[in-house]
Symmetry: C3
C-alpha cells in the first residue's frame, strides 16, 4: 500500500464531516492495512511508517476498547503514545483551564485523541488550537452524549465487510435496539445512513428511550426511511443488521431518570437466532450487559467480536491518514 496517497484527513470531530467518498475510502484503507499486516514483514513495515510521531491519548472518561484499540493502533504504526487517563494526575487539579491543558498537551505531540465527559470538548479544543500558531489534529474518541465518530466508521466498515458479497451497506434494513435516546454510537451511525442508497431503519426502543427528535429530523431531512416500533421480534425477522445497545445509565443522574439495567423485552437470545435471517448480522458496540446473551456468540451471524477488532483496524487507518496528511504538509513546507 502507498502511504503517500492516503486520503487527506485533519480533525475527526463528527460524523457530519464525512461524505460517501470518504466513507468508501477509509474502509478501503482499513482493508489494505489489515491485508498488509497479514503479509510476512507487514507488521514491521507498518511499524516503520510513523516511527517519528507521537500521539496523546487524553481519556478522562472510562474506556476499555476505545482506549486499547487506539493505543495498539498507534503503536502498530510506530507512533509513540503518552496518555492522560485520570484527570487527577494532571494540572487540572491546579485549576488550569481545560483548553490551556489541551493546548499544553498538544504542544508536545503530533495528534490528540480525546475522550471526555465534557460536552463538545473535542470540537472546542479543535477550534481553539486552530486559532493558535501550532494547530494539531484532534480525534474525537467519544464525547459526552453527543458523538463517537470513529465508532460509527468502524460500524460502517463492519457492515460493508459483512455484506461484501451482497452489495455492501446500500439497501440494507438496520434495526437499532435499546436506549436509542442516549446511545451516542447509534446517534452517530444513524446520521451516516443517508450516504447509502435505499436504507431502512427500524428504531426499536421502550417509549422512554426513543430516538431523540434531532436525529429523527435529520433522517426526515435526508429522506431516510425509518419506523419507530416496540415489536422487537418483528424487527429481528426483517433486519439485515440487528444493532443492539446497552442502557446508558451513566447519564441517569444528569437526565433525572432512573433506568433499569436492561429491558428484558429487548434481549437478544438464542431464540432470536431462529428467526434471524440467514444472511443477517448482529452487532453491538460493547460493553454488553444482559441485552445480548453470550450464548449467541458462536453463531456465524454474530459479528460483535469482529466489530470490536475492526475498531483497531479502522482507527489505525484514521491515524495513518492524519499522519500522512501532516507528513505531506511538512514536506511541502520544506520545499
Amino acid at each position: 500500500m502507498d502511504f503517500d496517497r492516503l486520503p487527506e484527513l485533519g480533525h475527526v470531530l463528527s460524523v457530519d464531516q464525512f461524505d460517501r467518498p470518504f466513507l468508501d475510502k477509509i474502509c478501503d484503507v482499513t482493508q489494505e492495512i489489515r491485508e498488509l499486516r497479514d503479509k510476512p514483514d507487514g507488521k514491521r513495515l507498518l511499524k516503520e511508517q510513523f516511527a517519528d510521531r507521537t500521539a496523546m491519548l487524553y481519556f478522562t472518561q472510562p474506556s476499555s476498547r476505545t482506549y486499547t484499540s487506539f493505543a495498539v493502533a498507534c503503536q502498530e504504526l510506530g507512533v509513540s503514545i503518552v496518555d492522560v487517563r485520570d484527570p487527577h494526575t494532571s494540572s487540572e487539579v491546579k485549576e488550569e483551564s481545560l483548553l490551556d491543558s489541551i493546548r499544553t498537551f498538544s504542544s508536545y505531540v503530533d495528534v490528540l485523541i480525546m475522550r471526555s465527559p465534557v460536552e463538545g470538548l473535542a470540537r472546542d479544543a479543535a477550534a481553539y488550537l486552530d486559532a493558535t500558531p501550532r494547530p494539531r489534529p484532534i480525534v474525537n474518541a467519544g464525547n459526552a452524549k453527543d458523538e463517537h465518530p470513529t465508532q460509527a466508521l468502524l460500524d460502517i466498515y463492519t457492515m460493508r465487510r459483512s455484506f461484501k458479497d451482497r452489495g455492501g451497506v446500500d439497501g440494507k434494513t438496520v434495526a437499532f435496539v435499546g436506549d436509542l435516546a442516549r446511545s451516542r454510537v447509534v446517534r452517530s451511525l444513524a446520521k451516516l445512513m443517508y450516504h447509502y442508497y435505499d436504507m431502512q431503519l427500524l428504531l426499536v426502543s421502550p417509549p422512554e428511550f426513543r430516538m431523540k427528535p434531532d436525529i429523527l429530523a435529520h433522517l426526515d431531512q435526508h429522506r431516510v426511511r425509518y419506523e419507530e416500533t416496540a415489536d422487537f421480534n418483528g424487527a429481528v425477522r426483517q433486519a439485515d443488521v440487528v444493532y443492539m445497545t446497552r442502557v446508558q445509565d451513566e447519564h441517569d443522574a444528569a437526565d433525572g431518570t432512573r433506568s433499569p439495567r436492561s429491558f428484558p423485552e429487548f434481549h437478544f437470545t438464542q431464540e432470536h437466532l431462529g428467526i434471524l435471517r440467514p444472511e443477517a448480522i448482529v452487532m453491538h458496540p460493547g460493553p454488553r450487559r444482559d441485552e445480548l446473551d453470550p450464548a449467541t456468540d458462536d453463531d456465524p451471524r454474530s459479528k460483535y467480536w469482529r466489530q470490536m477488532r475492526n475498531g483497531k483496524h479502522l482507527r489505525e487507518a484514521v491515524i495513518a491518514c492524519i499522519l500522512a496528511t501532516l507528513q505531506r504538509k511538512r514536506n511541502e513546507r520544506r520545499r
Copy 2:
C-alpha cells in the same frame, strides 16, 4: 542465542504445569538472555526480536516490581505494551462482565499478562479464551492468594545461579520464614521443590500462620522432607536458603484475622549473619517490612536485590518463549 529454538510455552497459569526439564530450560534461556544483553549490541538485538508484538498488562492489583519487571522485560524484547492498572478507567465500571473485558483486551494484543485480586481469574480467562476462535496466551502475574508462578520461577533461577558451583538447587535445605499460610510466593515455590533431588524444607512460622494443609499434603505426596518449627535460629544455622516473607495482612479482612505488622521473633538481623552458613543465601520476594533488616543488605549472602532483578530477566525469558511459540504457529499456518 537462537530464538527459533526456544522451548514451547503457552499459558503460564500455575506452577503445576512445570516439570524439571522446563525448569532447567527456562533457567538456561534466562541466562542466555542476560549474557546476550551484556554483549555489544546485545540489547539492540533483543529489541528487534518481537518488535511487531503487543502485550496487555492487566494489573488491577497493586504491584511495583512485578509490573515494572514485566513492562521493562516486554520493552527490552521490542514488545509494545498497553496497560490497565485501575479498573475504574475501564469498561468494568459499565458493568461489563470480567470475562468480556478480558476477551476485549485479548482481541487487540498478542499476550495478556494479568494480576488480579480475583481468585482464579487468570485460569478462568485462559479457559474462556481457549474456547473462542482467537485464543491468546495468558500469563498469571499473581492471582489473589493462590498462585504466582513467574515469582516461583525467578526464585528457582536465583537459587540455581547462587549455587551454580555447588550443584544447583538439588540437595539444598530451604527455610521458609513468616506468614506461610498466605504467601502465594511460598506456596508456589514449595510446590516446585519435589522436582529437585533430596530437598529439605524448614517451615518457620508462628502457629497461626503455619503452611496450609493443601501444601503439606502436596509435599507428603511427593515425598519432600519438611519440618514445621518455630526455632528460627536453628533454621538459620541449618539452611542453605533462608527465604524471608512479609505478613500478608492485606488478606486480614477476608480471613477475619488481625495480624501484627511483623513477628519480631522471626526478624532476620545482622546477628543472624553470624550464625548463617558461609555458603548460604538469604532471599525475600519483596516488599519487605521489619522482618529483614536493611543493615544486612551489603552481606554477599543477601541475594534479595539480585533476586528482584532476576525477576526481569526470568520474565523476559518467559515472554520470549511465549512469543517464539506464537511465531512458530504463525509460520506453520503460512506454509
Copy 3:
C-alpha cells in the same frame, strides 16, 4: 551533532550543582537537538540514539507539562518508559519503605525521573542509590516546595533564546511576580541568576508571599541586585522579563494559610502590553489562572507557550547527556 561529546551529567538534583559553563553547554545541546529534529530524518536519527535504554517516570505528584514533556522527550530519544503515577498502584500500599521502592524501580531501568510531594526525596534517593552496588542517575522533576531544576534550566534556555540578539541572559532585569514564597520554580531560577553578569531582580509580591529569607540571603551572598516591591506596573515598565506565577495554594494546608485564588493587583492583562518594553518578554511556568490574561497570548512578547515547548527540548538534552554519560562509562568498563 555528536552524541559522544555531550557534557558529563549524573544526577540532576538541584540548581546548586550547575555552573555557568554547564548552563551554556546544556542550552547549546538543547539548540542542537532542536535543529537536528527539524532536518529530514533528524527525528529518526534521534530515535535511534538510546533505543536500548529505559527510564522510570515516578510521578506521584500531579503534573501535566512536566510529565508529558519528559515522557515525549524520552520517547523521541528512543528511550522506553515505564511509569508510576499513582502511588496506590505500587507496593507502597504494602508499607514498603519509600527508599526500598525507589531502589526496586531503579533496578529495572537506566535512569529515574522523579516528581514527589516528599521533601528532599530525589536527593535522598540519589544518596541511597549511590551507596548501593548499582547506582542510577536520578532527575529531580519537582520535589515538594524546594526545587525544580529542569524547569530552571528551560527558563534559562528560553531567556537566552529570546535575547539571542541582545547578549543572552546577561545584564537583564527580571521581575518575578506573585507567590514568591512558595514557587519552587522562582526559587530555583533566582538561585541561578548570579551566574549571569549584571542582573537585576524585581521581586513583586503581596507582603504575605514575599521571597523567603534563604533566597534573599543567597542573592546577597552572591551580590545579585534585587528590589522587593509591590509596584507591579513599575516593574512591568522596567523589566526585560516579566515572570508571572500562580498562587501555590496546594501548600496552604501545610502552611496554615488560606490564599486567594490569585492577586488581582498583580494580574498581567492587555493593558500591561502597552507599558511593557518592546524587546521585553513575558514568561509563566504554567499552569496559569487569572494572573495572566489569555488575551495576551498572541502578543509576540508572550513567550510562555514557547517556554513550555522548550521544556521538552531542554529535558531531551538533559536525558541525552545523562545517557551518553552512562554509555561512556559502559564502554570504559568493556575496554
